[in-house]
């Protein structure tokens, strides 16, 4: 691959001048690599592994959907893995996470088990919501994951409320509230921005700009297509981030989280990312050219980019990565098996979990 030459200049201890040169070269080739020099080996491998797990999990989910084992809506996260993995690396225990319905990646990143997530997709007893929530509705208080919400934009006030609760309880915690480029035009997003800024709530709004709200491109839906400044009217700082570079995401995430945690109020991060699959499994994706997707995959793929950087900088070798790939595939296969063998919910479950006992 021609890009390898560019990558190789990004060795440990690269000077600023070198980096600039690299970026230029990379830009010419339409591809830049994550700056792996500043991160230790274990962390790098873990970031890679998590992205890979999401990728393989989602591919499996797509396959199982095709086999009729998963019903209803199934929104895959393939292509966007760097966003959630990078952001998760920027928070600590006690922080909370909430998102919309393209949520499998978020669950896996927060540490929820692949088995439980996959079994929820198949609507089985072993799922995180015991089969009652499905793809769009899973939660784990243990992992600080608060869903899993199906109404576009509705998770934004909810996440702002989680941040409110953190502050009310005098916790140092921060809430990561994810939303897509489709949700940013919802009114309640701005109601939330206003109150979060007004009350200095510890919330980071992570806008995952994958360029399409279902089948409508951002150009056709938003008067301005840059989204990081959407909090400007409320004095909320915003940053645009290469959401296909897990290290860039983590770096921006750390800064934003520190800002929110210090009591200075909300931050907005616009992650420029891309989803390779349709909006949901039933989406024929006629609204964009195949070449566009192909180009993204070839030039911007977050996993391939990190892989290249890891190899170029000799953080690891092909054999180790292959071994990791095998491990990840095994986890996903086990999850798929569990999800197919776990029984359907007991029929008595129809009428449980509606009310909490007073």
């Amino acid at each position: 691959m021609a890009t390898k030459a560019a990558k190789s200049s990004k060795s440990k201890g690269a000077t600023a001048a070198k980096k600039t040169a690299t970026k230029k070269t990379a830009a010419k080739r339409g591809r830049s690599g994550p700056d792996v020099a500043s991160t230790n080996r274990d962390e790098l491998l873990e970031l890679y592994r998590e992205m890979l797990l999401i990728r393989r999990f989602e591919e499996k989910a797509g396959q199982m959907y095709g086999m009729g084992l998963i019903g209803g809506f199934c929104h895959l996260y393939v292509g966007q893995e760097a966003v959630v993995v990078g952001m998760q690396a920027a928070i600590t225990e006690g922080d909370t996470v909430i998102t919309s319905y393209r949520d499998h990646g978020h669950m896996l990143a927060t540490g929820m088990e692949a088995k439980g997530v996959m079994a929820e997709l198949t609507g089985r007893r072993g799922g995180y919501s015991r089969g009652k929530g499905g793809s769009m509705h899973m939660f784990s208080q243990d992992k600080g994951f608060y869903g899993g919400h199906g109404i576009v934009g509705a998770q934004v006030p909810l996440g702002t409320g989680l941040a409110f609760a953190h502050k009310y309880k005098d916790e140092a915690a921060v809430c990561l509230t994810y939303l897509g480029d489709g949700a940013v035009n919802q009114g309640q997003v701005y109601e939330s921005f206003n109150m979060a800024a007004l009350w200095k709530l510890p919330v980071v709004y992570v806008i995952e700009n994958n360029k399409y709200g279902m089948g409508t491109s951002i150009e056709r839906a938003s008067a301005r297509t840059d989204l990081y400044h959407r909090g400007q009217a409320y004095g909320i700082p915003g940053v645009q981030v290469d959401g296909m570079d897990v290290l860039a995401v983590r770096e921006a995430g750390r800064k934003a989280v520190a800002h929110a945690r210090s009591g200075k109020g909300p931050q907005i991060l616009e992650m420029l990312t891309y989803r390779y699959r349709g909006h949901s499994m039933s989406d024929p994706a006629k609204y964009r050219a195949k070449e566009e997707v192909q180009k993204m995959r070839q030039e911007r793929d977050p996993i391939e980019r990190l892989r290249g950087a890891l190899l170029d900088s000799k953080v690891t070798d092909e054999a180790s990565l292959k071994e990791m790939d095998r491990n990840v595939k095994e986890i996903v296969s086990e999850a798929a098996e569990f999800a197919q063998n776990s029984p359907e919910p007991d029929v008595a479950e129809l009428f449980t979990d509606i009310y909490a006992e007073a």
């Binding site: 009114g187 309640q188 979990d353």
Partner: protein
Amino acid sequence: MPIEILMPALSPTMTEGKLAKWLKQTGDAVAAGDTIAEIETDKATMEVEAVDEGVLGKQLVAEGTEGVAVNTPIAVLLEEGEDESALANMNDATPAPAAAAAEAPPAAQAEPQSAPAKSPAAPVAAEPEWDGPTASQSVREALRDAMAEEMRRDPTVFLMGEEVAEYQGAYKISQGLLEEFGAKRVIDTPITEQGFAGIGVGAAFYGLRPIVEFMTFNFAMQAIDQIINSAAKTRYMSGGQISSPIVFRGPNGAAARVAAQHSQCYASWYAHIPGLKVVAPWSAADAKGLLKAAIRDPNPVIFLENEVLYGQSFEVPQSDDWIVPIGKAKVVRPGRDVTIVTFSISVGRALEAAEALAQDGIEAEVIDLRSLRPLDSETVIDSVKRTNRLVTVEEGWPTAGIGAELAALMMEHAFDWLDAPVTRVCGADVPMPYAANLERLALPQVADVVAAAKHVCYAD
């Protein structure tokens, strides 16, 4: 002709107030826009501004007088060229402009206001099991006390909404709470119902117990997605992991003369939703006991109040632990001939109707549902099995209303006991009109309830 200055109404439901202070004395020149006096109600203070120019001829009501009825003349303004002699002629002359104004009294003076006081069947102590001391309290005070007591008891309880803190509540329900609990727990929000309802639900997910006040439930339609999709459904969707212990409260239904967008009963809307509990009290004792129960409940509770009831007083048990269980109806007047089932403000009308019916020899049993979800069908069915007749009364529209639900329940559970078809008395199937006469026609009146009861007794 001297101009009479009338006691103004601060709101459509105000009937009387206190003349707190005179700012213009007899003989003072008054320009349009000058403040003449200050008046007070239990809710608010307001300045009375002059509309016309002249000289204050006479103060008709002394400073500090309480209970001054709306539209009572409080002063006389002399116009240019008039002197005190004009005052002497006033009693003879017809005060045309004042009379014209007085002809359209606020609808708050209509009959429902006085219903509870007049009704002999109004219970003294709300719950039969209470034999401790009681005190007379308005519904407004009872609601405030319920919140204050629960906030003292549980630091995770907080109140948020428009004007709840510094303004002391748009309807003065949160009077004094900011002072006692501070700005951390009594929180003024911007006018963004969907946003703050969602913030409340998110906080509830994390274990806080928010009380979200809607200035009225009409505005909660902006937030209904968060109430239903987020608050009501998340427990189920999460397989029981995440609860929403939150109370959404505020006035519901028609106030008086506020027209279509501010006069709607949402009882059946919310009663439709699994995952929600819905209560709509009438008396102050129930308002207090049910609000305390709602705050302690680990589920989302829709607490439907009524603006016209806020100022009405009832006996309330004196106890910090006065809890009325959600889901339990109450027989507020026993009777053998016909069952009248209703809730909220219509309970007063039903009791008045029962009194009128008694004079014609018909003994009506009046049941206050108090809770609409869960609905205490057992109490209604038991009653209908004795009276064999059911009339339902609600301000809401008939289609898919609470009355429709009760009729269906009777079909399922009391079919063989019915001696007449279940009859619904509902709000007219129209958006609420503004005109006083049309508004009266759109709302269930005592006479409508009497007629319906007589009809099912074949006594009309």
